[in-house]
């Protein structure tokens, strides 16, 4: 095994900030900061619609704030073709909607709440993603 591009401090600090967002959303608004759910509800549900839309807007403002106060350059590298990008988008959209959550809802919030469903979902999507990367590398 080779370790590359290891940035544990940035990752850890980023994680602390994400955790702060999740705790605040829970304690103040009584809600789970699951991004796929928030996007879905902002489109399909009238309940808390304003809150959901504002959360999504905040999410987009996050990197802009980072550019202003930390570093104007944010890396965004995708090495895949457009058809693969569309396919991946459809899989992520369909998968998170059918499975009721993504990396944030199941991976962070669900695990913090010790939800059995979220432990299973997180285990499965991690394995499935690792295997996909492995297969893609071999092809």
């Amino acid at each position: 095994m080779t370790i590359i591009n290891f940035t544990p401090l940035e990752a850890f600090v980023g994680g602390l900030i994400i955790g702060l967002s999740v705790v605040l959303f829970y304690v103040a608004n009584g809600r789970i900061a699951g991004i796929s759910g928030i996007i879905n509800n902002s489109i399909f549900s009238k309940i808390n619609r304003l809150d959901n839309i504002l959360f999504v807007i905040g999410l987009i403002l996050g990197p802009i704030l980072y550019k202003l106060i930390v570093n104007p350059n944010i890396n965004f590298n995708i090495s895949s073709s457009v058809p693969l990008l569309i396919l991946a988008g459809i899989f992520v959209g369909a998968g998170t909607k059918i499975g009721s959550g993504c990396t944030s809802g199941h991976g962070i919030c669900g695990i913090s709440r010790l939800s059995k469903r979220s432990f299973v979902a997180t285990f499965l999507f991690m394995i499935s993603a690792v295997v996909t990367v492995l297969i893609a590398r071999l092809i």
Binding site: I4, N29, F76, L85, I86, A88, F91, G95, S112, R137
Partner: protein, 136 residues
């Protein structure tokens, strides 16, 4: 107040993702590439986040009322069902293909990169299609 908190939470979330470089798909693929040249950084995102969120278990047990809402809106499903399993596997495949999950995908719209827009449009199209199928 609820609306302001929502905006702040979204902002913190997007900022945290950027600090952690989770908005960079190739960085995420490096993390998922456990059997190759591995970049374990993103495991530390999970550790950092769960460290801060761990008091939630306490709050949940003691049923403390949320500050600005009448009650908690938490998931009602409890059982491991076919949808959870198939959805998680499908999501994992999509995540592993590109390295984008919903949070970083939306946040990366700020970078006005055409690839990120194509991904988000595809993802939201899938939301809409499944919503329509579920209704019928």
């Amino acid at each position: 107040m609820k609306a302001i908190v929502s905006l702040i939470c979204g902002l913190l979330f997007g900022f945290g993702l950027t600090v952690a470089s989770m908005t960079n798909p190739d960085k995420v693929l490096g993390f998922l590439n456990i059997f190759g040249a591995w970049d374990p950084s993103l495991a530390f995102v999970m550790i950092g986040a769960i460290l801060v969120t761990s008091p939630i278990i306490y709050l949940q047990k003691h049923k403390v009322k949320p500050w600005f809402a009448d009650n908690f809106s938490l998931p009602t499903l409890k059982e491991i069902d076919k949808n959870l399993v198939s959805g998680a596997v499908l999501f994992g495949i999509g995540w592993g293909l590109i390295g984008l999950c919903p949070g970083p995908a939306i946040a990366s719209l700020a970078l006005t990169n055409v690839n990120s827009i194509i991904f988000v449009v595809s993802m939201i199209s899938a939301f809409v299609i499944i919503q329509v199928v579920k209704k019928n």
